[in-house]
């Protein structure tokens, strides 16, 4: 029974990572109706930046904050330089640009930092077992960080006027312009935020999976699955979906298929959700009267 409880808790810990990446995906989807296939590679690059800073002797939390800021700027730049020029182009062009970005960022990371696997430090350590050995210090700490980030994002969108403007720009860009919102910048800001959230996810997962240029590929798949379960245009759903697939993955890995088919499980969830209920299990139907 302890084993089962541990699987659930470990699932929640990784689920937090998936939830963060899923949220990043959904944020960009909501604003632009595109899925950022390079989200994983961008997060990996961020994590490498953090690693380089820690290696250079910068204290962990300082490196953490600096990485989040740098990632934010990278996100904004990507939107301004790559996405903006093609904003009215067909879907195929967008997908192509995302793939190009994936290639550039992913390979640049390998080029700069090398392909050998690196150990990434965890800021959370403990001397004794926690909760009777049910959870490791890093699992507890990273779950806490994830929850803090998700709460901050929620508060930002719910209560600040900038957050409201970003939502307005995502829902209805034409009307947003009419109330004076600079929609282009809202998109860039959304990209920045998504990149920053991805960076946090990367830094939290790196101590578990170890750091290498392809670290996030599998995680991106689970984030897709989480986002789809929650409904791809529903941020809260994406978060819940992320946690759900984390638990699901851990249980399936422990009791059903083993760890060899982890990616296939994600694929199965994706296809299953899309075929059975494309709007997501928590998909929101906007009530509307004419």
């Amino acid at each position: 029974m302890d084993g089962f409880a541990h699987q659930i808790i470990a699932g929640i810990a990784t689920g937090g990572i998936y939830a963060s990446v899923a949220l990043a995906l959904v944020m960009i989807y909501q604003a632009t109706h595109h899925v950022n296939f390079a989200q994983g590679e961008m997060a990996t690059l961020s994590t490498f930046i953090a690693w380089a800073m820690v290696e250079a002797g910068i204290p962990y939390w300082l490196a953490f904050v600096a990485t989040v800021l740098v990632s934010f700027i990278i996100g904004v730049l990507v939107e301004r330089l790559l996405m903006r020029p093609v904003q009215n182009a067909p879907v195929l062009t967008h997908v192509g640009v995302f793939i190009g970005l994936l290639l550039i960022v992913g390979n640049m990371t390998g080029w700069i930092f090398g392909y050998t696997t690196k150990v990434f430090p965890s800021p959370f350590t403990s001397s004794g077992p926690l909760m009777g050995g049910l959870i490791s210090a890093h699992e507890l700490g990273s779950t806490a960080v994830t929850l803090v980030v998700l709460t901050l994002v929620f508060l930002f969108f719910r209560y600040t006027s900038l957050g409201l403007a970003m939502r307005a720009a995502a829902y209805n860009p034409r009307s947003a312009r009419l109330v004076g919102i600079r929609v282009g910048w809202m998109l860039a800001l959304g990209w920045g935020l998504a990149a920053a959230i991805g960076a946090v996810a990367g830094m939290m997962v790196a101590p578990v999976v170890f750091l290498d240029p392809t670290m996030m590929t599998g995680i991106l798949l689970y984030a897709f699955a989480g986002a789809l379960i929650g409904g791809i245009d529903n941020p809260l759903g994406a978060v819940i979906g992320g946690f759900a697939v984390g638990v699901l993955e851990n249980l399936a890995g422990a009791y059903v298929v083993g760890t060899e088919l982890k990616l296939t499980v994600a694929l199965a969830i994706i296809i299953g959700v899309l075929v059975v209920r494309p709007s997501g299990l928590l998909g929101r139907v906007v009530a509307s009267r004419v």
């Binding site: 409201l164 947003a176 009419l178 109330v179 004076g180």
Partner: protein, 234 residues
């Protein structure tokens, strides 16, 4: 002069809809823009707001705004209730209010909220409700309130009567009369329902296939049987 338009041309893609429009809107009071379907009324409003490709001279409060971004034009005090109302359906009435006043930094926003409740008491009852769940009339009210919260000098209204029951239309035009008296905002009103619009308006322009064919005080146009027969059809 609040808004001065000279030789305005606009269109979509290769198609020209407006062929050199000249007109003015005075500060305060209501100017009506009338015409049949496809005459170019909606396009005129869009052109003023920079929502379509536009040429010519559009001067708003002494500043040329042709070719400017829609959001910059809005920030200069020009509000627009477009066709389809431009309401944020997914957001609550409260959030739509907040967005209306998004660019304002003055402390009177709260007082303006109260003013809107006075004009549109129904919206206060719907405060926390998702805008998409409101009735058509309430949505139109919300759209007008949202636009007024910008504290505009000029308000563009695209067919506020569209798709609404006659009683509701009466109610909305009644409120607009109050707004005209109490707020001092200039209104450029596009309407299908010419009779209704001419009752409210001070001046009117008649648009036919992208050209202005009649201009003058609303009262005169309303009395002119020839114009009424040939252009307004009643």
């Amino acid at each position: 002069m609040l808004l001065e338009v000279k030789g305005m041309q606009a269109g979509y893609g290769q198609t020209h809809v407006l062929h050199g429009l000249d007109f003015v809107v005075e500060a305060g009071g209501v100017t009506a823009l009338l015409g049949a379907n496809g005459a170019g009324k909606t396009t005129t409003l869009r052109a003023i707001c920079g929502m379509v490709r536009t040429e010519g001279d559009i001067t708003f409060r002494g500043e040329r705004i042709t070719g400017r971004a829609t959001e910059d034009i809005a920030r200069r005090g020009l509000a627009h209730v477009p066709d389809g109302r431009g309401t944020f359906m997914e957001l609550s009435v409260e959030e739509n209010f907040r967005l209306g006043a998004y660019v304002r930094r003055d402390p009177e926003v709260r007082a303006d909220f109260e003013r809107m409740f006075e004009w549109f008491p129904r919206l206060k009852q719907r405060w926390r409700q998702q805008a998409g769940t409101l009735s058509g009339g309430e949505q139109q009210m919300l759209a007008i309130a949202r636009a007024l919260l910008l504290r505009p000098k000029l308000l563009l209204l695209d067919e506020p009567s569209f798709g609404l029951a006659p009683l509701i239309v009466q109610e909305i035009f009644g409120i607009m009369r109050r707004i005209r008296e109490e707020s001092g905002v200039g209104i450029l009103l596009v309407e299908q329902n010419a009779n209704l619009a001419l009752e409210l308006a001070d001046r009117a322009y008649l648009l036919e296939t992208g050209r202005i064919v009649v201009a003058g005080p609303a009262a005169e146009i309303r009395e002119d049987e020839a114009i009424r027969r040939s252009y307004l059809g009643y």
